[in-house]
Every structure is written in C-alpha cells, then in structure tokens.
Symmetry: none
Subunit: 190 residues, 4 copies
DNA sequence: CATGAATGAGGTTTCATTCAT
DNA sequence: AATGAATGAAACCTCATTCAT
C-alpha cells in the first residue's frame, strides 16, 4: 500500500461507516480497522475525528463539483445547462449512493463546522453564474438569486431522496423527463 | 410540578439540546438537568436514550400535523388547500424553529428507527389525500404522490432557509406570494 | 392474598432469583415483580436487601433443621441416627434443590453477616450433639467436632452432585447403601 | 512495569478484591486502582468484568494443577499418590489462602460460565487416571469413578475449609495424619 | 399496610487521543 | 511514516431506597 493510499483508505472507510452508523456511532478504531491501518496512522493524517469528517465533507463536495461541471460549458441556453446539472446529479445518485446519504445525514449536522460549510459553498459558486445569466436572458423567474439557488439545490436533493427510495425508477426516461419539467417549471419565467 | 409535567419537561429539554448539540453531543445527564429532573426519572419515562429521541420524533410529528390540519377543511380547491398548508408551515417556521431544525437534523438519522419513521408517516396520510384529490381533479401534475410530497416538503425547507437569511422579507406579502407561486408552478398541472 | 402471605411470597421469589442470578444479579424490583408485590412492600417487610437475604438464609436453615430432625429421636445408636440424617438430606436434595443451591452459593458469601451465620449455626446445635454423643460412645473417630461436621456436610453435597449427574440412580437402594457406607467409613471409629 | 506485567497485576488485584468483597462488591475501578493501572487498561486485557473473573478462575485452576501434580509420579501405590495430592493441597492452603477462598466463593457462582467450568475440569483429568489405576490395583472401593472423584475433590475442599477456619491446627502433624486417614477410609477398599 | 414514581450515587464500558518504539 | 498499548474522562444506565398518597 502506498503512502497516499492510506489517507484515501481512511476516508473511504469513514464514508462507509459514518453513513451507516452516524458520526458518534462510529469509533476511530472501527474506521482504522476497516481501512486496514493502525489507529495512530489515522491520527497522523487527521488530527481529530472532527477534522476527519470535515475533510470528508469537503472531499465529497469537490468530487460532486467535478461531476456537475463535466460537460457544462458545451450546453447552450439556461434550460440546457440546468438540465445538464440535473442529469449529472441523477447519475451521481446511481453511482455513489453513499455520498448522497452522507449529505442527507450531515448536511445540517453540528459536526460540520461553519468554516467547512462556507468552503464547500465556494466550490458551487459556478451555479450562481448559471442563474445570473439565466435571469439576464429572461429565462428564469425574477426571484432573488439566492432563493433560486436554494430552490435548485433542494429540488436536486428531493430528486435524490426520491430515487434513493425508488431505485427502480431511475432508469425510466419518461419519469425522469417529467420530474425535470416540474423542477424547471418552478424556476422558469412563464 | 405535576406528574405528567415531568415527561413533557424532559421532551422539551431534549428538543432544545438535541437540535443544538446533536444526539450524541447531548448527554442524558444534561437533558435531565435542563428538565430539572433526576437522571433516574428520565429513564423512568424513557427506557433508553434512543427511546427518548424516537418518542420526541413522534411527538413533533403529531404537533406538526395538528398545525397543518388547522383550517384545512375550510379551504376549497387544491390550490387553496396547498396554500393553506404552506401558510401554516411558514407560520410554524416563525413560531417553532427548533422543531424544524430537529427534522433537518434527524430526518435521515440512523437514531430514528424504521418503525418510528413509519408510524410518523401515518400522521401525514392526510397530505397524501390532498395530493391524490388534486391529481383526480386535474390540478396537480401526474407525478408519483410521494415525489410530490418530497417536493412540497423540501420547498418548505428552502422557504425556511431563505426567510432565515432575510428575516425582513418574512412579513412582505408580495415576496411570499411570489415564492408560493413558484412552488405551486412546480406541482400544478399546466 | 393474605398479609403474611406477602412476606412468604417475597422470600420465595428471592430464593428463586438469588440462586439463579446471584445476589447482585437480582434487583429488588425483580424480586417484587416475581412476588407480585410493590417494591415499597418489599421494603416494608425487609428494611434492606441485605436484611432480606439474611432472613432468607435463616429461614432455609430452619426449614432444613425441621426436615433433618424429623424422626431423629426414634433412631437408636449413632450409625442409625447419622443414617437418618443422611436419608433426610438426600430427600431434601430431591425435593428442594434450590435450597441446596442457595447454600452452595451463599455459604461463604460476604453478603451473609457473621451474626446471621452464628444464629444459623445454633439451629444445627443438635447435629453437634449427635456427633459429641457418637464420640462419647466410641462410635465416631476422635476428630474435632466441626471437622466431622464439615465432612458430613460436604459428603452431602458430593452426593447431591452425583445424583444430579445420574438421576436414574437416585432410587437404587443398593447404590445409596454403598454411598452411605463410604461416608460412614470416613467418620466411624474402626 | 513491563507489558505482560499489567495483565498479571490486574489478575492479582482482582483475586484480592473478589475474595474480600465478592464479584459485585468489587468495582472495576477498584481493581484498576489496586493494580496501579488505568481502567481502560483493564478493559484492554479483559473485554468484560465477567471475562476477567473467568480468566482468573482458569488461571487459578492451572496454578492448582501444577501444584497438585508436582512430585506425583514419584509416588508408588495409590495411597501414596492420593496422600501426595492431599499434602499438596494442604500446602496450598498455607501458601495461597486467597486462592482457596476464591473457589469457596465462586465455585458455584453464576458468574463463572459453563464453558469455563468445563475447561477448568479438563486440567484435572489426571485425577481420573489415579482413580482408575487404584481401582485396578484393588485399593479403592468399587464405586463409580466420577463418584470417587467427587469424594476426593470435596474432601480436599473440606480439609481446606477446616484449616481455613483453624489455621493454628495446620502445623500439627498428628491432626493432619488423622484427617488424611479419615478421608482415605472413605475411598479405600476394606 | 400497600403502592410505585422519584431519586442520584455509582457501576461498567467506550473511545478519542497520546506517545514510546 | 507507522504502530497499537495505554490512558482516563465521560457516557449510559441500574438500582436500593424513600415518601407522599
């Protein structure tokens, strides 16, 4: 096992256990064991258990960002760009359900510091640009940008929750289209 | 202090502390102290800390239900009924922010048992009725009922987040109307 | 249930639970529940849990005494009298195994006070008399009386253990005779 | 203090306290303190308080076995061999009274598991051989082997109890000889 | 006499973190 | 960089006992 592997193994084990058992339900010893690493090693890479979960939070935010931005600049108008974001996030649900569950559990948790939360937010600044542009082009409702942002993010997480509960619907293109249209109806200008 | 008071005091103290510090961040000793009750008394009413949070979850679900259903039958068509629900829940946000925060924190938590979750769901069967009826009357989109439910619930929490950041807007009827319209656009049949 | 019944019910429940789970393994609440009595009632009859087990100890010593002394005065010489004691105690093993187990568990336990132990001893003074008399008549070995007592008591518990493992032998008069002879050989003067 | 020392210190402290105060009368904190070790260390070596007492039980059984077998093969006939066992066990009383007391207290205790008890029994299989040989040589009564085993073991423990209560007699060779003769009379063929 | 809700000290066990190797 | 034995504070929960009814 290479050196930098260990850090990754620890993060991966932590993701598994935190989503399954919660933050305090998971001991650092359990994480170390699952990562096949000594406890001391865990504390070599992360000074604190809190540090570990905060690092994990950012790590997943970054992974999410690179998924969402992939192919985004090839999309033309705002509807297509928002559709691209939405499609990417649905694909994320299929491929990395644990990462979704992680945000469902720790999105509002006091274990994630305010600083981390703000840092995570910065990785999503690009969505503000999409919205501002949409409003300028007259495609989005004339609502405050941060409210539209809220709407977009929360509709993504509704979609995620729904597919999380109904994994069988995830490959039905008709359902997917109708879900997207509903969300789009919420923010588009009529 | 009357006998049944103690149970209520414990639940209230638990609500405060769980929302502030999380489940494991709150000790049973701290709850008992805040409730002005001996630790043993806490365990007299709730066999387990997990039992306590599950009882609390149900308690708040029930409170929420009675708020949401108040005046609901006086509303006419589906738009009015959903408007009534939305207005009630905005009022809930203002009056009982801790209860909202509780669900944000523990809605997906492994500390709430599946059995409790299902029991809690039953108290909201009436919303399913509202949705089903709306779909029959052709006022709501032809989407799965629980997806519409997700949309409604998550749009509520977006609303909360927004009003939390902009408390000055909470009494502006124009903003409120436009927000409601956007949400309504998401679920109404065009 | 009559008043004095409750005391008896409590003692009986305590006997069951103490022998099964040990002194500290048994809670006063559990005893009260098994006795079908309120906790307060238990403490009405026995000021303390220690008081309860001490009372139980004496109670069983007394029951044991009346079993052992039954028919004892009709026996002639020391061998017959010791035989009578041995037969009675084999019958005791069959009929009240929990009482035997109680002494196996608490005979040396620090939960029984020295005072109680001495009081219990007094109920068995008659065995000392049997032994003293046997020594005077030259039928028993010239060993310290309390050693002979030890031998007699421990040979009883060996007998018990053996019959517990081989319940089919318990009604075989030949086996019983040979066991008694061996024990008698130990203490008789040659 | 060396690493393996700590385990031993804990066992030794546990032996002292359990025999003095009983199982539940002794807290793990007290054991750790007496062993000059942190509580966590105790639980590092023994997962459970029950594990600890079971380990202690086996440890003492093993120590007892090596005492009893010492010099056993140099003894000639069965009387000498049994005498050797008896003498060793009397010496054990003088040297390790706490270990004797431990078995007096916990020999029948529900805190010792059946599995542990059986494992402990295996260390005493060699006594069966002594008995079988004695029966073949016509020196022992024609009683079931396991009954003779019971008799031998319980007479050893009677002896121990007696000397435990009368430590002053332990150096009187005359008393010792007469006690041994009595026990030998019980099992020898006449 | 009888009840059982209420108490809070104290018990066992867990676990994040350290540090000598 | 990596290890894992050692730590001890603190957590959850139990339970003997009291007392107002």
């Amino acid at each position: 096992m290479q050196t930098s592997d260990k850090r990754t193994h620890i993060l991966e084990a932590a993701l598994d256990l935190f989503t399954e058992l919660g933050f305090h339900g998971t001991s650092t010893a359990a994480i170390a064991k699952k990562a096949d690493v000594a406890v001391g090693t865990l504390f070599h890479y992360f000074a604190t258990k809190e540090d570990l979960i905060n690092a994990l939070y950012l790590e997943i935010k970054i992974r999410m960002r690179s998924r969402l931005t992939a192919g985004l600049d090839r999309a033309g108008n705002t509807e297509e760009r928002f559709g691209c974001l939405w499609t990417s996030s649905v694909r994320w649900i299929q491929e990395k359900p644990r990462e979704i569950q992680f945000f469902r559990l720790f999105g509002a948790s006091p274990n994630i510091s305010q600083a981390t939360r703000e840092q995570g937010m910065q990785h999503f600044a690009f969505i503000f640009d999409v919205i501002e542009q949409g409003k300028k082009q007259g495609m989005l409702k004339d609502l405050p940008t941060d409210l539209l942002m809220e709407f977009m993010m929360s509709s993504l997480s509704s979609t995620q929750s729904y597919f999380f509960e109904h994994p069988d619907h995830i490959h039905d293109p008709d359902v997917k289209r109708r879900i997207f249209e509903a969300i789009w109806d919420m923010i588009r200008k009529k």
